[in-house]
Each structure stands twice: as C-alpha cells, then as structure tokens.
C-alpha cells in the first residue's frame, strides 16, 4: 500500500487518514507537502483561486495535538472547495467579479464544517465557471482551469477547479456543486470519480446558489472509497437548509465491498445512445460488459426532461441575478450575462409547465426503478474539448459547447437522482465518464457499482502525469520532505 510517507501524490484520503491516525506521518507533514505541491503545480492547472496556508497549518497542528483523542476518519486529509462554498474570512466569489467584492463570510459552509469535524483540513478554494452557469471550466476573471491530463483542454464545468485539483494530485478530495451536471462533467473530463447525491441529501447551507430547485453539492475524489468516506462525513439533517432531508445519515462505506450481484443493472438507450461520440458509448459498453449488464432501458422523454431543466435553469438563474444584471451587467462574463438576460424574458407559465412536467417525469422514472436498480449512461457526449473551443457537432448538428456538454447529465439531476460519475479510459486518449444512476436515496447502490468497476480495473482515476511544463514548475513529492515531519522519523 502506498502511504503518505511513500508518495503523497498518489495517496488516497483513506491512506492519508490511516497514516496520520497511526502516527506514520503527521497532519502537518501532509499539509506542508500539499501546500508545496499546490505551489509547484497550480500555476500549470489553475485549479486554486485561494490557498489557505496559515489556516491549514493551524488545523493540522491541532490534529497532531489531539493524537490519541480520536482524530476522525479523515484525519489530516487535505481538501479544497469550489469557490461558491463559504470559507470564513475569504469572499465567496462564485467565479464572479461581482461577488468577490462582498464581505467575507464569518463562518464556513456546513459541509466544510462537517469535513473538518471528521479531521479533514481545508487548504483552499477552487476555480469555477462564473455563477456555475457553465460546462467548460473557463472563467474570464480567473482564467480557465486546465485539464491535468492535457493542459490545453477543458476541465469541464462548472466545478472545473475541483476536477483539476483532484486529477493533478493537489488534493485527494474536493467539493463541487451540480445543478445540471457540474460535478459529473468535470469528473468525466478530468478522469476522477464524482458523486452527485440525491437532491436534499447534503446540506447546501453556506453555498452560493444557482437554481434552488436543482442545486446539489457533492465530492470528487480519485477513488470510490474516498468518495464514500467524504459523503458519510457530510450526511445528516440541517435545519438551516430548507431543502435538506431530515433523514439520518445512512453510511455507505461499510457496504462498498458487498458487491453488486444483487442489483439489476441496465444501460440507457435511445436519447443516451444517439448524440454521443463512439468513444463515449464505448466507455458505457465497457462498464456494462464488466458488470454483466445486458438489458437496455429507455428513459422516458429524456430530451423533454432536459428541455424542462433548461427552461427552469434559465428562469431561476435570471431571477437570482436580476439586480446584478440591472446594476452590474458589464461586470459579468459575457457568455453568462447573455444567457441570464435571455432567461429574464421567459414567461412564468413556461416555468410552471416545466415544473409540472418534472412531476410527470419523476413518476415515470420511479416506475422504471421498479424494474431496474441502476442505470448506466454516458456522462458527456465526447472527451474534453480544447480550451477556447466554442462549438462541437453532435449527431450531425453543430451546437455550442457551453450549454450542451451536459445533455446527458441534465435529465438525471432534473429529478435529483443520485449518480456516481466513474472515469473510464477506453483507449490511450483522454478519459470519459459513465453515469451510474440509482433511485432516490440509494447512493449506496451507485457507489457499490462504481466500486465494482474500480475493482475490475474499468474505472480508475490516476494522478495525471503532468507534461514537461508542469515538471519544470516543480517536482512531485519527495518522501523525505514528508518524513521530516514524521513522528517516527
């Protein structure tokens, strides 16, 4: 097993926590090495917008000082959060120029507090598409986050910095948000695992919203076990979040190794097979074959579900930003501003009809989940486009990338289903993602299937072998640097 003392770049959150808890390394050693790595590599991938060195070192020192008193399941694990998630003392910029002028919040978001209560250490905030209205990972104010597996390619958005930070080995764990696919798209394009839980499962308290009726928060990581550890640490009711579930935590970590032979797994056909490039479908086929999933199911009216989510998003987004559009229109990213202004023209009845369709679609999907437990579908229609690319062609039709990279994720989050995005590498090229979709409140099933794919070697999330420019920027972790802080060194 790799331990942090062997190689902090590839160590998982679980390995780091085990090594810190056992005293093989100190939390301070982990955090110093992490900060050095961020300093070396972040200029290449542009994942971080804020690095919190002093805070992280103080927290690490506190963890080391509490040795023997129960350090938590994530002891010493560095993590970072999309910069729409509140961090006490720094403005919650939400990818925007406008919001970074706001006073900093006085306390951390609920999920940050829960992860730190489990021993994790926040090291910074991450780049994102402005106001989360984005599938590219590009940002006109902070520059694009760059795909660590090919730095001239997109990370995907809007949690692009989260995908880049995990794939580049800067942190083993990051938080993102997903309204229409913003965890699953960057997970797919950056080759990491991502979990969009059931709508309402994880608290959104202390995060800047986008579309209240569709917003989710969730983790990205390089292993299914780490996703589960983080997810378990963050579950639980939150009276401050009006949409948070009152369900007690339902830990999934103990269930991960139970396999998935009892699950009825099918592949989404129709809409999900028509608009994807061959490699995206090949990734799904590889997963299905490994799982022995031979059945194909039709997700009913998926195109209409996506359309309804599109309308609701445009209208709610415009409503949220109306005053900023009125007073500060020139300070927006133009690509976001123009979509939001278009959203301000939507008649109310279109939105209400979309919400009524949402009820219909939910009913049909619940009926489908009487027949199957898990559905596989591509996460994106193609691999990561190049940064700056504006259009692509799907099913013979040219269309803009920014709104359309999420054609396969949008119908699923529309009704809040839990999904794991699992990274699959069908050939020597960039990764693609497979959505593992389960019925509401059955994150465990999606994670068990993802774990089975990971064990079969079909899904994997290696730390990117960064190119020459990154290597010149700084070395990968040397064990000695960490051992200098080892309690046993």
């Amino acid at each position: 097993m790799n331990t942090p003392a062997d190689n902090l770049v590839t160590a998982s959150a679980a390995e780091i926590a085990a090594a810190v808890s056992s005293g093989d390394v100190t939390a301070r050693g982990v955090i110093d090495a992490t900060l050095a790595r961020i300093g070396d590599v972040n200029p290449t991938v542009n994942a971080f917008t804020d690095v919190l060195a002093a805070r992280a070192r103080a927290k690490a020192n506190a963890i080391d000082g509490s040795r023997g008193k129960g350090q938590g399941p994530l002891a010493g694990v560095p993590f970072a959060v999309k910069n729409l998630i509140d961090v006490a003392g720094i403005p919650t910029r939400a990818g925007s120029k406008i919001n970074r002028e706001n006073p900093p919040p006085s306390r951390d978001a609920a999920l940050v507090r829960r992860l730190e209560a489990a021993g994790a250490v926040l090291v910074g905030a991450l780049n994102m598409g402005e106001y989360a209205y984005d599938f590219t990972g590009e940002n006109v104010h902070d520059g694009p986050s760059r795909n660590p597996h090919a730095i001239d390619h997109m990370t995907g958005g809007s949690s692009g910095g989260s995908g880049a930070a995990v794939a580049a080995g800067l942190v083993p764990l990051a938080l993102g948000s997903d309204t229409n696919g913003s965890i699953r798209v960057p997970s797919a394009l950056c080759g990491v695992f991502g979990l969009k839980p059931t709508f309402g499962r994880l608290s959104r308290t202390g995060s800047f919203p986008f579309v209240s009726s569709l917003d989710h928060l969730g983790p990205l990581a390089r292993s299914v076990g780490d996703l589960a550890l983080a997810y378990d640490a963050m579950q639980g009711p939150d009276a401050e979040d009006p949409v948070a579930s009152e369900r007690d935590p339902e830990p999934v970590t103990p269930m991960l190794e139970t396999g998935c032979r009892d699950l009825r797994i099918a592949v989404a056909g129709g809409y999900f097979a028509r608009q994807a490039e061959t490699e995206a479908l090949e990734a799904v086929a590889m997963a299905a074959k490994a799982l022995g999933a031979r059945r194909t199911v039709e997700i009913p009216e998926a195109a209409r579900a996506r359309a309804a989510a599109y309308v609701i998003t445009a209208a709610e987004g415009a409503a949220l930003h109306l005053d900023r559009l009125r007073l500060r229109a020139r300070d927006f990213d133009p690509a976001v501003r123009d979509r939001l202004i278009a959203g301000a023209t939507i008649p109310a009845l279109w939105v209400i009809q979309a919400q009524r369709f949402r009820r219909w679609f939910h009913g049909k999907m619940m009926a489908l989940f009487e027949e199957v437990d898990v559905i596989l579908a591509p996460a994106t229609p193609c691999r990561a486009p190049r940064i700056g690319q504006v259009d692509f062609t799907l099913d013979g039709t040219a269309m803009p990338i920014r709104p359309n990279m999420g054609i396969f994720t949008q119908p699923i989050s529309f009704i809040g289903l839990p999904v794991v995005a699992a990274p699959v590498w069908p050939d020597g090229g960039l990764p693609l993602g497979v959505q593992i979709i389960a019925a509401p409140w059955h994150e465990d099933r999606a994670l068990r299937v993802a774990r089975a794919l990971e064990q079969a070697g079909i899904a994997r999330a290696p730390v990117a072998a960064l190119g020459e420019s990154a290597r010149q920027a700084g070395p990968v972790f040397a064990p000695r640097r960490d051992l200098a802080h080892s309690r046993r060194g």
Binding site: P242, A307, R326, R330, P334, I341, I346, Q353, R356, R359
Partner: protein, 67 residues
C-alpha cells in the same frame, strides 16, 4: 389541444426582449442583442418541447417547498 405550437418569430423575440428590458429595468448593449436573441431561441425551443407534451390537469408543479 393537438394544434402544433409554432416557434416565435425573430421579430417576436425582439419584441419580447425589449419588453423584458423595460419591465426589469435592464440595460442591454446593442452588441449583446444577437447573442441574447440566440439564447432566447434555444430556450423557446426547449419550452416548446415541454409545452407540446400533454400533461394531465391533476399534475402538480414540482418545485421544492416544505412548509
């Protein structure tokens, strides 16, 4: 109820945009209009897909609210 819906014309979208700008007190630089109108066309197409689907009168909207 089975009459197919038509998409708004370019002129109708222009009119709707001007109305929204006036109603909401927005400013929209003339240089922005082409992109805004293009987004309106896409949104209108999505809304048409939804509106064309027959829904029973009994279906409640499904935004999230718990009293």
């Amino acid at each position: 109820m089975t009459e197919p819906l038509r998409n708004p014309t370019d002129d109708e979208r222009e009119t709707a945009l001007d109305a929204a700008i006036a109603l909401h007190g927005l400013t929209a630089d003339p240089a922005w209009r082409e992109a805004i109108l293009a987004h309106m066309k896409v949104i209108g197409g999505a809304a048409r897909l939804v509106r064309e689907f027959p829904l029973g009168d009994e279906l409640d909207p499904a935004p999230v609210f718990r009293p």
